[in-house]
């Protein structure tokens, strides 16, 4: 099944993407509101919340170049030391840019 990429075809494809994406946004809440949330489910969810981010970040560190790795390291360091989000992110970007300028 495929659509021609005319404006109408593209519009339908984009609407389908939008629908699927909203279902992912609402689906987790919808399903969980129908599950009883005991202490085990709660602990699962607590551990999972940060794990989502870990699973997104890890490949960037592994597959990225040294610029990306050092950028993450810089962000981590500044964040642990100062707890200032913007400073931490800026440090990461600056580190990557500097590394690539030099390397």
């Amino acid at each position: 099944m495929s659509l021609p990429s005319t404006l109408a075809g593209s519009a339908v494809a984009i609407l389908l993407m939008a629908l699927v994406t909203y279902l992912t946004r609402a689906g987790g809440v919808f399903v969980m509101s129908r599950l009883p949330i005991g202490p085990r489910v709660e602990r699962f969810i607590n551990a999972m919340a940060g794990s989502v981010l870990v699973a997104v970040i890890t490949p960037m560190a592994i597959q990225g170049d040294w610029g990306a790795r050092l950028a993450l390291l810089a962000t981590l360091t500044v964040m642990l030391a100062s707890h200032k989000t913007l400073a931490a992110i800026s440090a990461g970007i600056a580190t990557a840019a500097l590394w690539r300028l030099v390397a």
């Binding site: 990429s5 519009a11 494809a13 809440v29 602990r43 551990a47 642990l80 990461g92 970007i93």
Partner: protein
Amino acid sequence: MSQTSPGARLDLAGVLTGVRRMAPLSLFVVVFGLAFGVAALSRGLSGLEAMMMSALVFAGASQFAALELWGPEIPLLPLIATTFAINARHLLMGAAIQPWLAHLPPKQRYASLVVMSDSNWAMAVADHQRGETNVGMLVGGGIALWLTWLAGTLLGVLFGSGIAEPERFGLDVIMGCFLLAMLVGGRRDLSMLVPWGAAALAALAAMAWLPPHSHVIVGALAGGLAGLLVWPDRKKREAVA
């Protein structure tokens, strides 16, 4: 580790605060949007189609992936499967904040989710862990991200070819650094290192052996399971002892 707040509320003041707190960070999103606009045009989408996709889908990674499938014909099933796989992390993110959002009326709850994406979700979770009841960070932050994503896409569509190598300026690491800052800036709890380690290992294993884009879901589920296995019903045992 139980719920830190008894309720949830959503009001205009909270939303505006959310917009304001996200504003500096969402400026970075303009750059992503710009990159998407440029990429979309180069894959043969019209400016209107690129804008429609950014406005309605509002999920960067899946939009970039969709471009890979775009051609004279658009294959629907791969498009739907790819979109779902990349955005399936939303299912887990939603599940994580459901106990909080459950205190909102259903209309507000499901309307708030329209703009849920990684950054505003992460900031809202950090709020919630500090005991904040106002959901404004999720909604206001989402609105700020949506507007800047759209503005960026428009800039990309209009003035496409300006930035040829965003990575030279370190712009490709913004997202990773942002999410890492959110992760570390949230609750400080060393016991989380075990599930996070499990999540990292599982994500790497999934990247090596499982289909593309499955690593986020696999990692998140592994982290959740590790959270269960490492401390099996500690509360109960403490109660007995």
